[in-house]
């Protein structure tokens, strides 16, 4: 009988105790593996976030953002300047348009004791001076609602509605404008890849064309499908694809190519925003400064898209850290369990160890026998633990993420709303607005990303986890194995 066979036999000497030890080890190992799986899943997600969203900068005209503010518009020359900055991998220009349904016009508000005439948002340029309002035959998918009407009512006057001593305000329903954006690549206004749910993209985004991408809710509202047509400024466009932006505001939008939008706005060289992608997360801060310096503080405002997701990434990082600590703690627990069990077994078998030494067993053989016996217990615990982990890791990861990000998500949502709400009243009707949409989008995305972490037990992670468990078990078993070397046979045999 070899040392291994003897170790296996010893592991099953007391079956009830072995079962109990295996059960306890399985829980510790299962927890360790679950934490490792959660750690890997969150780590991958953090990498994904950092790689996709965390490396973009948004450039707006100095003093302007979306349809708001003032200053001079950005031009393709500035896009080229930004592209020449070190660590910049790409620059995508956008051109924002406001599509007004042809029927939208002047509205009036009448109160009991006073009347205010209000001009609608159709036609003309807004404060930013960089958007173009163009007509379309499309109908907005978003009803004005209380927010839209309230914003519209204070539009050009900057006051809120009309009130009198006992006055009431009545406003007819308003049709909100539709967001149209010319894009230089297949990304949305925040630089995130468009999620085209049917049809195709626009193909060549560097030339003008009569194809468009339409948001899902806008398509539904106007009974559009791939191949359908609609008009902007009397030009007929064909729906090439339908996209899902993930938000009601984002889906009330149209994308055309950048040159087409510039043509429609009759501003061929102008850009509303530029989305600058940096080559790595580490270079984002320095590149932001470099782009800002290259364009000039009086010409452009550079904001870091990553900031929007910092809280989310930070939250995921903290989940990652927690899961790593929990993994190490569970591993240590497994090691301590092994240590205690093996110390107990060594004490229990002192006499047997003495006999083995008396008949000529070297210390290393006896030590090896105990280490192998502990590994047999760990192997059984690992099998059961792996089964536990395969069922529990998803739930544990979700619980970790949800418990750790609930506060963050609330904060994020609140901040996103705050930014949208910060858009000056009356300038942009509706609950979003370009400013709000531009900043709020990533926030909404962050919440989605936080909950989209999927923990799956991959063989590689499982193997790494079990290898770590075995390493810890060997360390745990070495101490009692070394204890056997200190047992002197005469001491235990004298007990006779």
């Amino acid at each position: 009988m070899s040392v291994l066979a003897r170790s296996v036999g010893n592991a099953f000497r007391n079956k009830i105790r072995t079962a109990a030890v295996v059960a306890v080890l399985a829980v510790a190992i299962g927890l360790a593996l679950s934490m490792l799986v959660a750690n890997q899943a969150v780590g991958s997600k953090v990498q994904e976030l950092n790689a996709s969203v965390g490396t973009t900068l948004t450039v707006n005209p100095a003093g302007g953002q979306g349809f708001e503010g003032g200053g001079e518009p950005l031009t393709t020359t500035e896009a080229q300047t930004a592209a020449s900055v070190a660590n910049v991998t790409s620059v995508v220009g956008t051109k924002a348009l406001r599509l007004q349904t042809a029927t939208t016009g002047t509205t009036s508000t009448t109160g009991t004791t006073g009347t205010t005439q209000q001009t609608g948002q159709g036609g003309g340029f807004g404060p930013g001076g960089q958007q173009a309002s163009v007509s379309t035959n499309l109908t907005a998918a978003i009803d004005a609602g209380t927010l839209g009407n309230r914003n519209n009512s204070s539009g050009t006057t900057g006051t809120s509605g009309t009130t009198g001593t006992n006055g009431t305000t009545t406003q007819p329903a308003r049709a909100l404008p539709i967001t149209a954006t010319g894009i230089g690549a297949e990304v949305d206004s925040t630089g995130k890849a468009l999620n085209i749910t049917s049809g195709t993209g626009l193909g060549d985004y560097t030339t003008a064309g009569d194809k468009a991408l339409v948001g899902t809710s806008l398509a539904t509202k106007n009974n559009l499908s791939v191949g359908s047509t609609f008009t902007i400024q009397d030009k007929t466009f064909t729906v090439a694809g339908i996209f899902d932006a993930g938000t009601a505001f984002g889906n009330n939008a149209v994308y055309v190519t950048l040159p087409e939008a510039q043509t429609l706005a009759a501003t061929p060289d102008e850009l509303s925003t530029m989305i600058v992608t940096v080559n790595s997360m580490e270079n984002v801060d320095s590149t932001k400064t470099a782009v800002q310096n290259a364009l000039g503080a009086d010409k452009a405002d550079v904001t870091q898209g990553q900031r929007n997701l910092e809280t989310a990434v930070s939250s995921l990082d903290s989940v990652k850290n927690i899961s790593l600590v929990a993994f190490i703690a569970a591993l240590a627990t497994a090691g301590i369990i092994i240590l205690l069990i093996m110390v107990m077994l060594v004490r229990e078998r002192r006499r047997e160890i003495g006999v083995l030494k008396a008949i000529g067993a070297p210390n290393r053989t006896i030590g090896l026998q105990f280490v192998l016996e502990s590994l047999v217990l760990v192997a059984m615990g690992s099998v059961v633990g792996a089964v536990i982990a395969s069922f529990a890791s998803g739930g544990i990861a979700s619980a970790l993420i949800s418990s750790n990000t609930s506060t963050t998500a609330a904060t994020t949502t609140q901040r996103g709303g705050g930014l949208a709400g910060a858009v000056p009243n009356g300038a942009v009707p509706g609950g979003g607005g370009f400013g709000g949409g531009g900043q709020g989008g990533p926030f909404g995305g962050a919440s989605q990303l936080l909950t989209s972490v999927t923990a799956s037990v991959s063989p590689g992670v499982l193997a790494a986890g079990i290898a770590a468990v075995f390493a810890v078990a060997i360390i745990g078993a070495l101490v009692p194995a070394l204890l056997t070397a200190r047992i002197r046979p005469i001491e235990v045999l004298r007990g006779e």
């Binding site: 036999g9 006999v355 030494k357 008949i359 000529g360 070297p362 005469i490 045999l493 004298r494 006779e496």
Partner: protein, 230 residues
């Protein structure tokens, strides 16, 4: 030839110094069967432990076939026990969850003998000690006391040692089984030309050995007897 030279083993017990073995010297011829008698606590087992290198003497030496044990490192002493010594204990001290055959194979495994060879020899030894072949694969905790002692003797013979040290080998057995065990040891001594030293407090058992030593207050004296066992 086993030579014991002025062997002393002393312990501290509080302020007192106890010398269970105090200047013991004797020689054992190869293939002899000898016994040491004495009262409980007279130092018999301590002397046996010193001869078997389970313990180290305070002074003196044990020389086995010209090799001195004094000053040998632990590793060499382990090797000495494995190669040159066979132990038979009063409590048998078999590994309870192993079969009779596996118990006998253990010392051979430690000596690096191949599995097939040690299995063959283990079976032969168990036959020599007259253990029913049906009981060879049986776990030793399911054997009777006499059967367990036979297995223990077979285990002691496994590596063909120069010296077998038996500490009260019949102490846990009934009279008839004890006599069988002594006869077995006697025949093994003859057949294998192995030196056997039995420690016992049983005078009738000691009478059956060639030489009988008395240990009293740490000192050894040989009893002079007429006749021989052979």
């Amino acid at each position: 030839m086993i030579e014991v030279k002025d062997l002393v083993r002393q312990f501290k017990s509080g302020d007192r110094t106890i010398k269970p073995v105090n200047g013991v010297s004797f020689e054992l011829e190869k293939g002899s069967l000898s016994s040491i008698v004495g009262k409980s606590g007279s130092g018999k087992s301590t002397l046996l432990s010193l001869l078997g290198a389970l313990d180290k003497p305070t002074s003196g030496d044990v020389v086995v076939d010209g090799v001195s044990l004094a000053g040998l490192p632990d590793g060499k002493l382990t090797e000495y026990r494995r190669r040159d010594i066979g132990f038979v204990f009063q409590q048998f001290n078999l590994i309870p969850n192993l079969s009779a055959v596996d118990n006998v194979m253990l010392p051979m495994e430690f000596a690096g003998i191949r599995k097939a060879a040690r299995l063959k020899r283990a079976k032969e030894l168990l036959e020599q000690v007259q253990l029913d072949p049906e009981k060879h694969p049986r776990r030793t905790n399911r054997l009777s006391g006499g059967e367990q002692q036979r297995v223990a003797i077979a285990r002691a013979l496994a590596n063909e040692p120069k010296l077998i040290l038996a500490d009260e080998p019949t102490g846990n057995l009934d009279e008839q089984t004890g006599e069988h065990i002594i006869e077995l040891l006697s025949s093994l001594s003859r057949d294998h030309n192995t030196t056997i030293l039995v420690v016992t407090h049983d005078r009738s058992l000691a009478q059956k050995t060639e030489r009988c030593f008395r240990l009293q207050q740490g000192r050894l004296t040989e009893e002079v007897r007429s006749g021989s066992r052979r």
